[in-house]
Assembly symmetry: D2
Homo-oligomer: 319 residues x 4
């Protein structure tokens, strides 16, 4: 243990005029505490890409509600995600944004009753108009009809691929995923406004089925024992667990970066560390793995700023 | 605002020899900080029961892995939950426990690679043997065959009801739920070992379907506009959101108690407060609602210790 | 390691009508996650008392602002604290409360500008009138005069002992401490309203000195190498560190219970675990030690409810 | 309220090859959640400097243990801090580093008993050799003698100024502070290894006094009612409170940036928000103020990267 320790010493961070974002992250990586882990995360992501691992990118709904949405789309376009797992709310918002809806920046301490009266829904300090959801309903009604014409029993990945093919926004997660054959899995697909629309549609078309069981089969067979596998896991919950569980019988992840605000102290999945995942075999015993604590809207772009710069130089990005 | 404020003053907590648990909680409720909110939560739960509200009890998987599992079963038996929403891991563990499996108490700082080698899976400081999962596979294989004979296309609530009817353990959540006609919804039903078993079963029986869309319909129609509705929401994620979303078109919750360790600062669903839910109409503008921060294995039994004692006296419990 | 693990299994928590607070805590102690650590904390506190250890009780200012204040006084009276370390704000509030001031319970989401206009100061969800501070000034001016007559150069422990001797409230920390010869150390004594009063007083009496260096000497020599030493450390910061540091040259603590909401992830003293303290020798390598995460206004009374009940039965309490 | 809200919309973050650190932060500032507040913090710091406010920089000990230490020194040199408040541990480490000691980067999950045996002390994931403390003792013994020759009764700011004048390291906080006449206040000056050395020194020189009361006077008179005042407050505890308290009678802060990992839910000073401070008048009602949640080793350099770049362009930096 000590050998490893002594290879690294705390180094004073210094600001330089005009410094680049990647230099900045390099500077942070010897400061101490979470900034060290940030540096490690950047390194692991670079390694998983260079090693040709299949990269799982998972995130919770709120992250796609935020301005990380276009960044996720960009990462797919650059070849940094081979498979996506997420929850439905963020995908709804991705579709809204692709239809020119805009979300406002408000305050965490807003008067929520007043917001409700004004038809504004709050997600942290982001505000979405109820009208945006009404527009979303129109879009979905139209899209559901078209999808049903092609196929009556779909997995969630098949369903969202069809939607992606109908979008025309290069900043959209679903658009880029469909274009690059990156499957988007969404295990709790009815847990959002989409749930209402699916339910209304099924009332009229009882043979319309979202097949969650085959969905799971598809994510499991996405990789084999022989594939190298890496995960970038933003936030917790179902999207996180569905991804790491799916590789369990194929030997677990070779690389893993968890980024979250949740603490391990309550035994939740959201706070479970990469170490805990090793006890299950969801991550390999000897995997390169790190858990970074902090708000993902800050930590994730930082980690990628350095990894992308280096991968670009090494010719590992698609663009 | 100040009128309300001045009705309550900080009161020194004092220990008394042989004091009862409910007296203890009453003592806490004027201490300050989260203990005040604990007292409020207890009051709101008491009110929702006395008001005849339909009570939604939601919890994350890890809580059913813990010793809260038998407490949830007891609460169903006492008539304190009319509908359950949860994730699949905890239900798997409920079935294991009903089949005499035991979980060990370990440490948060365990050596996870060593645990993996010994066939132990860690959830926080709880350890589950891999063998328990192997036994679970045998049980599920048998049960799936029986369920399939009765019905080929089920919602998650129908599926878990069938399982509950086959169990024989009064400390089991699924057993008590089936017995008292309390539906157990599980929106991401494949996100656990059960996912593997469902997938293997469907391979042989392609007409076996878990209908997630009808699942959502069923939870939506569980209540009407006229029903009074209350929620006790333990932890975050999909189980929390699925429940509050489902009442949205029926006017939202009249009473809400959120208990969580997640912080609101990152905009996550898990950390979203009862206030935020009001902006969406998931909780009514004038609802009695509170968010208590803390580990649910501690805060929830405390809140209930006082509520149950009082409801018992008032003849509001089933037993 | 596994031997220890298998001695404990998760046990379902069950509510019983009329259950006692200590039974309740016993029930919690096999639930999992933080509730297990709560049980351990209770056991360690019981052991430190039975073993005749000198007990250090440290807490942050906000805890004495809360209704834990009278509980701390009771614990001193029962013989559960031999030395106190804290910060000055809480002691000011202890003096105010002993002078019949009352603090209101408000809300964490108050309008702080409105509060300011109404002369209300907020501490979390507790409100203190500015008038209470004005009254405090009168009290201190009088007391400072009397103290100065007796002594011109004091340590903080000497200073607060003099104040305690002038109070007449058995729910007061300083009163009980003075009465039972329990020193109250306050390393950053000017960091509160008292700072202003001390400064005004010293302007008129330049030979009035708070001797912080001798203060440190006094806390160091409070114990010897031979003494058994235990600590109950509520919250973090200076009060925590001053206590554990002071025993370093006397071999460190034999027993330690840390209770806090702070996380270890940022490397702060407040979030530092009992394990980290072992690397410094502040806590002995083989000490019985535990860190419980959660709001102390809830977790600390729980831990004590069980410990006190048992110690009472065993005749280990002063009363 | 809505006018303000609608001036800002969520904007997708996009990575660009070779992007600058300040552009990066600009990109983050419209993402949502804490990244928005990061942008606000940067703006407020820029404003306080351009407005000619006296800038209070406060930080907890662990931050000076980390590689932020040289950055703090740089900020003083650039004219971004007019007064420092901190706790003693970090200043000890600043002196050690100025004497060529190096700190290793380890792991949060280290075996602390093993570390203790090897003479390594852990602060989060930073390791300090016990030998470094032994060397520190030699340095302090020598310095204390020299200081005593000049002055026998000192405030903490006077004391650390003397030390700063004896150092020869431009990356040292104390060196730069002394050079630029920036006072360094340390309210709990004995709460560290220095406490032992001061105590041993006072044993031999009983007229040696650290005058904490005059210390408080000096920080209070540092500003007047007329001065514009801003604070950058990193972490919580005594250093935070001492600074905001000191300006209370001079009207409170005009600008305030709090950066912390502590939560407001437990009513602690560390988690207290800038809003809470307004109820006390520690921050002005109409002050520009923000609280950013996250690890300061990451968030603070980010905030400054943008603020410094802009201030440099505007000619507001000393260098």
């Amino acid at each position: 243990m000590f050998k490893v320790i002594f290879m690294n010493y705390v180094k004073d961070f210094k600001w330089k005029k005009g410094m680049k974002a990647d230099e900045f992250v390099t500077g942070l990586s010897k400061v101490g505490f979470q900034s060290v882990l940030l540096g490690r995360a950047s390194e692991i992501i670079r390694k998983m890409k260079r090693d040709g691992a299949k990269i799982y990118l998972t995130f919770t709904s709120n992250m796609a509600t935020s301005g990380l949405r276009g960044f996720f789309a960009q990462l797919i376009d650059l070849g940094m995600a081979d498979i996506i797992v997420t929850t439905v709310g963020g995908l709804e918002e991705d579709i809204m944004r692709a239809s020119k809806e805009r979300f406002a920046i408000g305050s965490f301490r807003a008067d929520d009753v007043a917001l409700h009266e004004k038809g504004m829904n709050r997600v942290g300090n982001i505000l979405i108009r109820e009208e945006s959801y009404a527009n979303f309903e129109d879009i979905m009604t139209r899209m559901l009809g078209k999808i049903y014409e092609k196929k009556k029993r779909l997995t969630t990945a098949e369903f969202f691929r069809e939607i992606g093919l109908m979008l025309r926004d290069k900043d959209s997660i679903l658009y880029q995923a469909a274009r690059h054959n990156v499957p988007v899995f969404c295990p709790a697909v009815t847990d959002g406004a989409l749930g209402f629309h699916l339910f209304m549609f099924q009332e009229k078309h009882p043979d319309f089925i979202i097949d969650s069981v085959r969905d799971f089969k598809d994510i499991v067979v996405f990789t084999s024992q022989d594939d190298r596998k890496g995960i970038i896991c933003l936030g917790g919950g179902v999207s996180k667990h569905y991804a790491i569980l799916s590789t369990l019988i194929n030997g677990g992840m070779d690389y893993a970066v968890y980024m979250t605000t949740a603490s391990a102290s309550s035994g939740s999945m959201s706070g479970a560390t990469t170490d805990e995942a090793k006890s299950w075999g969801k991550i390999k015993d000897d995997a390169d793995a790190v858990t970074v604590i902090g708000d993902v809207t800050i930590t994730f772009p930082l980690v990628m700023a350095k990894a992308l710069e280096e991968l670009k130089k090494e010719g590992c990005l698609r663009k």
